[in-house]
Structures are given as structure tokens and as C-alpha cells.
């Protein structure tokens, strides 16, 4: 789960990170008031769960309260990579002497938590990683003991910080690491972390993402969820134990198993179609679960045909077939359905489907070819 910049800053502030004082505004007038309160130059920043805000014009400097109001007026309602801006964050302007990058992520190959930093802050860190990897300093936290003070100092010295700035930086690195662990984050990032002209550290832009599997032990994080930023269909699916991701195509997919669901999407594509979604119905495939899957898929008006791909394992093919049959009694589906059923009790399942007026094919490839043809209005 992602949160907004202002929420990430709020969390990191609790860990002692020197975040920039800011105020959230949902209207130009609120932005003006916030700017007036801070005085001097402020930045007005779009609060959306996506990057590239700067390039999209979602971050503006304002030297007066009126400018802040106008900036907020321009930004609020803006669409940034498909995200509508509903809130802006108004923060005090800071005199930047130097920009750094500081982030904490999982290092999958090492199965450890990684602290990474760069003296090239304020830019796309992935670009730095790709093009000037030597500019990034990395240290792995010990899996049991965590990140040690000396590691934070090593990073600070490797960035070339002067002696007087080392402890301040090291403290912030430790705070980000602590926040990552204690909040069950999957990403904690400050970019840029700046040194001001006065020599103070300020976390100018904060970002955090969280492990969905750990949200039940962080209700205060869950409460930060911004439904306006969420795909409600995906959330709805999740609550039914279904993994669902909306895509741009027109062929709906209902599959048991995540890997098989991806492979099914790939097969659709291979046969000239475009998948409308990723959907894993999960372990069982009861009538209500399948009905839910149908309603998720058909909620998308672009869907022109549905491919159901089931490999009967522990969940038997006949049970799945019954689920499909019964679900079709519950949900109205008006587009062609192609079913592929294989594995345990597939033959019996096919008979059940046949009784329900559906023909099941044997292979994924045949099913993919058929569903693409059906979507395009012709027989395979």
C-alpha cells in the first residue's frame, strides 16, 4: 500500500526525521492560508500516488500567499499519469545547499534490508543506479540485529560529508531504517534529503510503501489509505481473496493460481488478443467466488470475451465446473465465455459445463485462440 508524501513525512517525523513543516490543502484558499501562515516562499506539491509530479507541473514554487493560491488552483484537479490531484501539500521553502538521496528497500537477492544513499539527490535514483552505479553507496542491515551506527557513518563518509555533518546524516539513516522495520514498510525514501545553506538537514520529499501482508498489525497505517487513489475493483477483489489487476485489453481472464493467470494473459497476447485483467481466484473456486470473479471482470465495459482457465489440482475440476454453472445462475454475463478445464476430474467437469451450455476446451493455447476469435466476433 502506498501513502501520500505528507503522510510519509508525518510517520518519519515521529521517528525524528527532520521533515519540512507542511500543511495539506484541498482548496486554493486553504493553500493560500497555509502559505500565509508559513510566510515567505512555499512549495505547493500535488499529493498523488505516482512519480513524475515535477515534470507534470504538479510542483510549483510560490512567493506569496496569492501565488500559492493560484498554484494550488492550477494543480488541484490536474491529472498526473491517470491520478487526479485532490490535495496539495504546502511546505516552507528551503535554501538548498546540497541534495542527497537516502532510501531503505528490500534487497531481494541478499534477503536483507538495504540502505542506499547518493550525493546525487533530487533526481531519479533508478537512473543514477543504471548510469552511474558508483554514485550509490549501499549497506545491508543485519537480519537480526539491524542497521548499526557504524554503517550509517560509513555511508556518510563515503558520500564525502564533512566530519561535522556525519552524525546528523547517520541519525537520519538510522531513523529511516527503524521506520522501515517497525512500520513494515517495503520502501522508505527521502529524495531529496537536503543540507540547507544554514547547514541543517531537511527531508524535503518523503515516500513510503507498506507490506500488504503486515497491514493488519498497523491499523494506523491502514487508516491512511486514500480510497481516491485506489482501484476500488482491486480493493473489492482483495477483500474476497481474489487477486485482481486491471489492464487495458478486452479479454477478461479468470484463472486459478497467480503464475497460471500470468501465463494465461501471455497466451492471450500470443494469440493476438489483449488481456483486460489479471485475476487469480485463489485456492478454492466456489460458486460465490466464481460469481465474484465474473462480476469483477464484467464491471469493465471494454471486456468483449472471457477466458476461464482452470487447472484442477487439489480443487477438483467438477467442483469448479459446478461453481461456474452456479455462478452463471447468479450473475448475468453477456459476452462469450471460453472455458479451459484440465487436471483433476476435468472430464466430469466438462460434462457439467456442457449441461450448462458451455463447451470446455483442453489446452490453454486452444482456449486463448478461441477467446481472441470470440472477442473479435469470429469463430476460432
Amino acid at each position: 500500500m502506498d501513502v501520500h508524501e505528507y503522510q510519509a513525512a508525518e510517520i518519519l517525523g515521529r521517528y525524528g526525521v527532520p521533515v519540512n513543516p507542511g500543511r495539506v490543502a484541498e482548496s486554493p484558499e486553504e493553500a493560500r492560508a497555509a502559505a500565509a501562515e508559513f510566510g515567505g516562499t512555499v512549495a505547493v506539491k500535488a499529493q498523488v500516488h505516482t512519480g513524475g509530479r515535477g515534470k507534470a507541473g504538479g510542483i510549483k514554487l510560490a512567493h506569496t500567499p496569492d501565488e500559492a493560491r493560484d498554484a494550488a488552483g492550477a494543480i488541484l484537479g490536474m491529472d498526473i499519469s491517470g491520478h487526479t490531484v485532490n490535495k496539495v501539500l504546502v511546505v516552507k521553502g528551503a535554501k538548498i545547499a546540497h541534495e542527497f538521496y537516502l532510501g531503505v528497500v528490500l534487497d531481494r537477492p541478499n534477503r536483507q534490508v538495504l540502505v542506499m544513499a547518493s550525493a546525487e539527490g533530487g533526481v531519479d535514483i533508478e537512473e543514477v543506479a543504471r548510469e552511474r552505479p558508483e554514485k550509490i553507496v549501499r549497506r545491508l542491515g543485519d537480519p537480526a540485529l539491524g542497521f548499526q551506527p557504524y554503517q550509517a557513518r560509513e555511508i556518510a563518509f563515503a558520500l564525502g560529508l564533512p566530519a561535522g555533518k556525519v552524525n546528523g546524516f547517520a541519525a537520519i539513516a538510522q531513523q529511516l531504517y527503524d521506520a522501515y522495520i517497525e512500520e513494515d514498510a517495503t520502501l522508505v525514501e527521502v529524495n531529496p534529503l537536503i543540507l540547507t545553506d544554514e547547514g541543517d538537514w531537511i527531508a524535503l520529499d518523503s515516500k513510503m510503501s507498506f507490506d500488504d501482508n503486515a497491514l493488519d498489525r498497523h491499523p494506523e497505517t491502514e487508516a491512511m489509505r486514500d480510497l481516491a487513489e485506489e482501484n476500488l475493483t482491486e480493493l473489492d477483489a482483495r477483500q474476497s481473496g481474489i487477486s485482481f489487476v486491471k489492464l487495458d485489453g478486452d479479454i477478461g481472464c479468470i484463472v486459478n493460481g497467480a503464475g497460471l493467470a500470468m501465463a494465461t494473459m501471455d497466451a492471450v497476447k500470443l494469440h493476438g488478443g489483449e488481456p483486460a485483467n489479471f485475476l487469480d481466484v485463489g485456492g478454492g473456486a466456489s460458486a460465490s467466488q466464481v460469481a465474484k470473479a465474473f462480476s469483477l471482470v464484467t464491471a469493465d465495459p471494454h471486456v468483449r470475451a472471457i477466458l476461464i482457465n482452470i487447472f484442477g489440482g487439489i480443487t477438483r475440476g467438477d467442483v469448479v465446473a459446478e461453481g461456474i454453472r452456479d455462478a452463471l445462475g447468479e450473475v448475468q454475463v453477456s459476452v462469450p465465455i471460453v472455458v479451459r478445464l484440465s487436471g483433476t476430474n476435468a472430464e466430469e467437469g466438462k460434462r457439467i459445463l456442457a449441461d450448462a451450455g458451455l463447451t470446455a476446451v483442453d489446452t490453454m493455447e486452444a482456449a486463448a485462440a478461441e477467446v481472441v476469435a470470440a472477442a473479435h466476433g469470429k469463430a476460432a
Binding site: 537480519p143 507490506d211 501482508n213 503486515a214 503464475g259 487439489i314
Partner: protein
């Protein structure tokens, strides 16, 4: 036996009296797996599918000589179950449980490794040595004893490929589902090494998916160390970046972890990569013929 499990396996089921645990215990016993014990705290003296239940792993190991454990407990209890298994001397722990927070798994991974044990999973279907031992939730009947070692991050997609292999006359030495989470106990490389060293395995199938770089690491390992023919399939060619595809670990982030990169790395290592799961048997036969 082929790799990891077989006739020597003496299996313990942690969480044996739960819905999943009891169902799969029955399935495993029916398959012929030597399930010697189960553990559910407070349920000592009960039996599931004829298997005696103990309060603690320590007791179960002492009484039955269990050497392998499979875990079906809920996510929030899974790390504790793994520690209990390792501390009780279990050398191979298979964690089926899905949804374990990553921050819990980081210390677990290091702990298991430091104690010389092996963890498979979490969020995995388990593993099977056809005809000897099924230690997991896969449908046993689609497997056939043979010479192909299979390793996969997925569940049903693996069954799909196994089914195709069996139908093509390619039986399996062992099939290992390593799991779909970002932090898993056993990687592709670990299993490839075992298959390479296993005299019962003559060819290898590897089923990958988007996210992380385990497939790339596997490609590097194959290039360097694997002399047996390898065929592969990578799921998620059409997956969009930044979205989790069901598995917690199946996500393209920051432009890395794409299927295209993985396919490229594998092909550069001489692996034949199929465009669809059903094409795997044909490519594997080609690879075997070319070897």
C-alpha cells in the same frame, strides 16, 4: 530418492489439525508419503489420518524421528513454527503458508541458513518426488517418476507444466515449488545445484515469473555450472510495471524484474525458453537431443 524428499523422508506436519493441515495430511498419506507426526499445541494424543499429534515439535521429533516438516499454520504464526522446527533439529522445513510479512522472513531466512537447515517457501506448493513422497499441496496423480527435475516459483502453473511433461512421456525426478514471495528460503540456484548433482536427474525445467532477479542469477549459475539440458518458461510477459501479480514477489519495479530480461538472460545461458507452458516438453526434448 531424487532431491530433498523421498523414501527416507519422515514427515512432520505443523498445524496438522487445522483445515488445510488435516486435508493435506490425508492427501499426503494417501499418496504414500511417510507422515510420522503432527503438531498442534494442546492437541496431543489426537490423530489425523492416523498420524499422531504432539504439543511441540521437540516432542514429535523425539518420539518419531521426524526429519522434515511441512507448515500449514496461519501467517502470523509461521515464523515461530519455522524457528521451532529448526531448533528441534528438523533439517528441511517446507512452509506452505501465504501472506507472511517480509520483515518477518528476513531474520527467519538468516536464522535457518545459520543453523544449517533448509527452508522451502513460504507461499509455495511444496515439493514432490513422484512415487516416493509428496510434501505439499500439489495434485499427486499428474506426476510420474522419471528423470526431469522441475523447479518453479508458481503453483498451478507448475501443475500445468508437470501435466504436459507427464503426457509427453517425461516423468519427473522431483518437482520443487520454491514459492512466490520476495524472501524465500530456497532459490532457483539452490535447487539447480541439487538437480545438477543428482544422478537421478537428467534434464531440468525451470518455471519463472516477473519480479526480482532470481532467474537472472539462475541463468548465470546455469552458464557456469549446469551441464544438464534446461528448458524454461517465464510467466508475465504482459504484466504491467509496478503492479503485484498475485504473488507478493511478482512485481516489476524500477524497470527491473521484467520477463523479457529474464528470458534474455536464460537464452544467453543456453536455456531453451518456451513461449507457452505446453511448449516446454517439446523444447526439453530438443535440448536433451542436442546434449
Amino acid at each position: 530418492m531424487s532431491i530433498l524428499v523421498g523414501n527416507d523422508t519422515r514427515l512432520l506436519v505443523q498445524g496438522i489439525t487445522g483445515r488445510e493441515g488435516s486435508f493435506h495430511t490425508t492427501q499426503m498419506v494417501e499418496y504414500g508419503t511417510n507422515v510420522v507426526a503432527g503438531v498442534t499445541p494442546g492437541k496431543k494424543g489426537e490423530r489425523v489420518a492416523g498420524v499422531p499429534v504432539f504439543d511441540t515439535v521437540e516432542d514429535a521429533v523425539a518420539e518419531t524421528g521426524a526429519n522434515t516438516s511441512i507448515i500449514y499454520v496461519p501467517a502470523r504464526f509461521a515464523p515461530d513454527a519455522i524457528y521451532e522446527a529448526v531448533d528441534s533439529g528438523i533439517g528441511l522445513v517446507i512452509c506452505i503458508t501465504e501472506g507472511v510479512p517480509v520483515n518477518d522472513m528476513v531474520p527467519v531466512y538468516a536464522y535457518v541458513k545459520a543453523h544449517g537447515a533448509r527452508l522451502i517457501g513460504p507461499n509455495c506448493p511444496g515439493l514432490i518426488t513422484p512415487g516416493e513422497a509428496k510434501v505439499g499441496i500439489m495434485p499427486g496423480f499428474i506426476h510420474e517418476p522419471g528423470k526431469v527435475g522441475l523447479v518453479s516459483r508458481s503453483g498451478t502453473l507448475t501443475y500445468e507444466v508437470v501435466d504436459a511433461l507427464t503426457k509427453a512421456g517425461l516423468g519427473q525426478s522431483s518437482a520443487v515449488g520454491i514459492g512466490g514471495d520476495p524472501v524465500i528460503g530456497t532459490s532457483f540456484v539452490d535447487v539447480l545445484r541439487l538437480f545438477q548433482d543428482d544422478p537421478d536427474t537428467e534434464a531440468i525445467v525451470m518455471i519463472g515469473e516477473i519480479g526480482g532477479s532470481d532467474e537472472e542469477d539462475a541463468a548465470a549459475f546455469i552458464k557456469e555450472h549446469v551441464t544438464k539440458p534446461v528448458a524454461s518458461f517465464i510467466a508475465g510477459q504482459t504484466a504491467p510495471p509496478g503492479k503485484r501479480m498475485g504473488h507478493a514477489g511478482a512485481i516489476i519495479s524500477g524497470g527491473s524484474g521484467t520477463a523479457a530480461d529474464k528470458v534474455k538472460a536464460l537464452e544467453a545461458a543456453g536455456v531453451r525458453v518456451a513461449q507457452s507452458p505446453s511448449d516446454v516438453p517439446r523444447l526439453l526434448k530438443e535440448a536433451i537431443a542436442a546434449a
